[in-house]
């Protein structure tokens, strides 16, 4: 790459970060939380963008940033108060400057109309013409300052200190709980120092092996809330005495921090004494007194760093290579474990123990490696405030966006592909979900509508929720519309939930007039498809008059898949667990022939098509007899509900997804492959593809799910 080009790329990457910082600051100013530090941060961001832009000759960008910066400078120096109308203008200016950066990046610098905002900014700045902005274009001198501010900012953010006393009863051990695991969990929450209280421990001769003698005093430092701590003891709470207390923050101790780590409280240690004494002394005599001092130092140090985490930019390919290698290791370990087991070594042998330890380490390694690929959802969420502002302006509704859990981390691929669907859903929430201001007031709701966007980790998946406090889904209208479009039959009786789900049908749109915000009828079905492509699901919970909630659950990573391992003949296949609803052993009477090609399975009086994988894929040795094998009920976004007939279910496990399309080609009905513990390749089935294959084979449409009581 041309060296200039690569410097430019770095500049744009920095711009992205600076724009985020700016946006955050501006939003804080909007909500009236602006202190000097925040205003300074915004100013620095704009200034740095301007400085770099000047170096590359982006004139429009620099001209706009200059006037923006001037106004910020006035606010910073207290000459201009950040009144709501000023902040509003600043927010628009923030949007424009990000447009300018985007334009400079694409090379198309025409077509940004910043005249109005520029005029308005000039009005605030009290200047009319353009002022020379060349005086401090070597803007990089601000970098060291940024660091200095970071430290100051971090100081009041001192983590809380918790004192926990944990006295397990014998029953805790009887229930196979392990204090070590609990302590390890606590260690994940922050810095801990643990002290075992051995005072109740009797002499060995009078020790009862089944009794619990040891208690622990734990000091935990970190930005931790009580529920998080209680959660760590969730399974043990009944079988122990537990006290959790928040300690007083002793800030006065902090000034000692800048001292070199010379342990000022232990002057005697500095004396040239023999080494054994040095080690023994703090442990024996003064450990309880000194430990807090030491941990405080440790705890405070990361807090300072937190303000400016050190990062490196790494080529994504390198990370992916690492992810792959970690995946290989996991497979190799599984193979090794199997061989060891086959060779007759038990889990308690030294070899078995070593392998177990190895497995734990590997899992940790894999998780850490996966974590490299993850990013906070913030990078997606931060685009939403602007969207909400623009939509609010277009629809004339008053909207407040609440964002929660933006530090939740997800795989980069998910981040890259979740933006569009989220944008769409927020549009829908504001355009369709929220009522007009008049209606809201008439219904006794606050004039300002609320849209809440949140993300959290739950059970190994990420859950993203978009909730509005609008009118909820108008089911009568949805039904009417679906009838009009011929999506449902007039006689169909649908539960509320089913009506809600109609909005995901292709070609469905309830907006009576097509607005340019949403309502082209390509909305929710596209959203659903993109979520499904990511291996996720989407659920609506709507309460008339109270609002709607869209809940997305997505896998944390796309490199591994939670699968159900099934046997068909002499082959092993993997079904994505996200498609599996339930499994059953059907008797012959529950299977009915339907036409020449199809069989239907009676699932609690609903008939669903039953597809034999063995027959469809031509697997040797698969069960053929009616009433043999296991039926796995599948729900897929594309095909609906149907059942797959397999010989047996072997288990459930995480598998590493391996594509072979590069070496071969796409096979209908097969999503990818994976490698099992015995080293053999197993194919991962694509349930929609299987249904399609079956349809093609029979040359006709697949029978839809039928109600036994209906037609």
């Amino acid at each position: 790459m041309d060296p200039m080009e690569s410097i430019k790329q770095t500049y744009f990457q920095e711009c992205d970060e600076l724009l985020v910082a700016m946006e955050e600051g501006l939003i804080a100013m909007e909500s009236g939380e602006a202190d000097d530090e925040i205003i300074n941060a915004v100013f620095r961001a704009v200034h740095s963008i301007k400085g770099g832009g000047g170096a590359f000759g982006f004139e429009n960008l620099v001209a706009f940033a200059h006037i923006f910066e001037t106004v910020l400078d006035l606010i910073r120096s207290g000459q201009l108060a950040p009144e709501p109308d000023v902040v509003k203008c600043l927010l628009r200016a923030g949007d424009l400057i990000s447009d300018h950066v985007g334009a400079a990046r694409s090379g198309d610098t025409s077509g940004i109309d910043d005249g109005d905002v520029k005029e308005e900014l000039r009005g605030f700045a009290g200047e009319s013409g353009d002022e020379g902005g060349e005086e401090d274009f070597e803007g990089l001198d601000f970098a060291p300052m940024q660091f200095a501010f970071g430290e100051e900012e971090a100081a009041p953010k001192l983590p809380s200190v918790w004192h926990i006393r944990f006295v397990p009863h014998a029953s805790l051990y009887a229930k196979a709980n392990e204090p070590y695991l609990i302590l390890r969990e606590l260690a994940c929450l922050g810095d801990i120092s643990v002290e075992a209280d051995l005072s109740r421990l009797p002499a060995l001769c009078s020790l009862d092996a089944e009794e619990a003698y040891i208690a622990w005093n734990i000091e935990l430092r970190g930005e931790v809330e009580r529920p998080a701590i209680e959660e760590a003891f969730e399974f043990a709470a009944e079988d122990c005495d537990l006290t959790i207390e928040q300690a007083e923050q002793d800030l006065p101790d902090l000034p000692g921090l800048p001292d070199p780590p010379g342990l000022p409280d232990l002057p005697e240690l500095g004396q040239p004494e023999p080494l054994p004494d040095l080690q023994a002394e703090p442990v024996k005599a003064e450990a309880p007194a000194d430990a807090p001092v030491e941990t405080r130092k440790e705890a405070a140090a990361p807090a300072v760093k937190e303000a400016a985490p050190q990062t490196i930019r790494v080529d994504l390919d390198k990370v992916d290579r690492l992810v792959n290698l970690a995946g290989e290791l996991v497979i190799t370990q599984a193979m090794l474990a199997q061989s060891v087991q086959d060779a007759g070594f038990g889990a308690t042998s030294r070899l078995g123990n070593g392998l177990l330890e190895f497995e734990h380490l590997l899992r940790e390694l894999q998780e850490s490696v996966m974590a490299i690929r993850t990013q906070p959802v913030k990078s997606v969420f931060q685009r939403m405030p602007r969207l909400v502002r623009e939509l609010a302006a277009q629809t004339g509704k008053q909207v407040r966006l609440l964002v929660e859990g933006e530090t939740t981390e997800v795989d980069k691929t998910v981040i890259d592909r979740i933006g569009e669907p989220l944008t769409h859903m927020i549009r829908n929430a504001i355009d369709h979900g929220l009522e007009s201001t008049e209606d809201r007031i008439a219904n006794g709701k606050p004039a300002e509508g609320t849209v809440k966007l949140s993300a959290e980790h739950r059970g190994g998946r990420i859950v993203i929720e978009i909730a509005d406090d609008g009118a909820g889904i108008n089911r009568a209208r949805v039904r009417e519309k679906a009838l009009e479009k011929g999506l449902i039959s007039p006689t169909a009786t649908l539960a509320d939930e089913e009506i809600d789900n109609l909005i995901f049908m292709p070609g469905f749109s309830t907006a009576s007039t097509v607005s340019n915000i949403s309502g082209r009828g390509v909305g929710m079905d596209v959203v659903r498809r993109s979520i499904v492509e990511l291996g996720g699901r989407i659920v609506i919970v709507s309460t008339p008059g109270k609002g709607s909630r869209f809940v997305l659950t997505l896998p944390l990573t796309l490199a591994v898949l939670e699968g159900m391992v099934v046997a068909v003949g002499d082959q092993t296949y993997v079904l994505p667990l996200s498609n599996v609803v339930e499994s059953m052993k059907p008797s012959a009477s529950e299977i009915e022939a339907y036409g020449r090609e199809w069989e239907l399975l009676n699932v609690r009086n609903t008939y669903v098509p039953l597809i034999s994988i063995g027959k469809l894929l031509g697997v040797e040795g698969a069960t053929k007899g009616v009433g043999q094998g296991v039926a796995v009920l599948i729900e897929s976004e594309g095909t609906g509900r149907f059942a797959l007939l397999v010989d047996a279910i072997l288990g459930q496990r995480q598998v590493v997804i391996k594509s072979f399309e590069n070496n071969y080609r796409h096979i209908e009905g097969i999503a990818a492959a994976t490698i099992l513990g015995d080293g053999r390749v197993a194919l991962i089935l694509d349930v929609d593809g299987l249904a399609g294959l079956c349809r093609d084979r029979s040359g006709g449409a697949m029978p839809a799910e039928l109600q036994a009581t209906g037609s």
């Binding site: 497979i331 082959q571 469809l616 894929l617 031509g618 072979f660 071969y664 492959a673 197993a682």
Partner: protein
């Protein structure tokens, strides 16, 4: 020795020869990644008969082609002595099931003849030429054509078969 003169070494290609169904074949040594023993494959559904399935090659899912079947002489009855020649062309890696690997040959360019017109048929598109080595005929296969045919025609042929 040839390698003392770089010009000569460059102009002469090296081939690995292997036999299947009693015939000798050769492939450019630059396309061969490794040679390994036969391991049972996982069959691929709806694939042509000569695609024996896939195996795990250190984490890579490798499709294995039965060369004998590919050339229309029926399936190889496999045993532990059979070998899989791992071939890489551009980004694709495949395995070629053959009876045995024989030799490395370095024929003179003049010893390589184009495929005789009479012998042309649909399946010989991946025959690059014929070399005479020690008065024996060796068919040189184009690995590129073999890999491309696998990636492009498999479903069509599967539908016919």
């Amino acid at each position: 020795m040839d390698h003392l003169d770089p010009n000569v070494a460059e102009s002469r290609r090296q081939f690995i020869t292997f036999c299947t169904n009693g015939q000798e074949f050769a492939a450019d040594i630059m396309t061969i990644r490794e040679i390994r023993g036969w391991t049972p494959t996982t069959p691929l559904p709806n694939a042509p008969g000569y695609v024996r399935g896939v195996i795990n090659l250190r984490g890579v899912v490798l499709p294995v082609i039965d060369l004998r079947a590919r050339l229309g002489h029926g399936m190889t009855e496999t045993n532990a002595k059979h070998v899989i020649v791992v071939v890489r062309v551009v980004d694709s890696v495949i395995g070629l099931l053959v009876d045995a690997v024989s030799d490395i040959i370095t024929p003179e360019a003049s010893d390589i003849q184009p495929t005789p017109d009479l012998a042309r048929d649909a399946d010989s598109i991946f025959v690059e030429g014929i070399a005479v080595v020690d008065e024996k005929m060796v068919t040189i296969l184009s690995m590129r054509h073999l890999v491309d045919s696998l990636r492009e025609h498999t479903t069509v042929e599967a539908a016919v078969a």
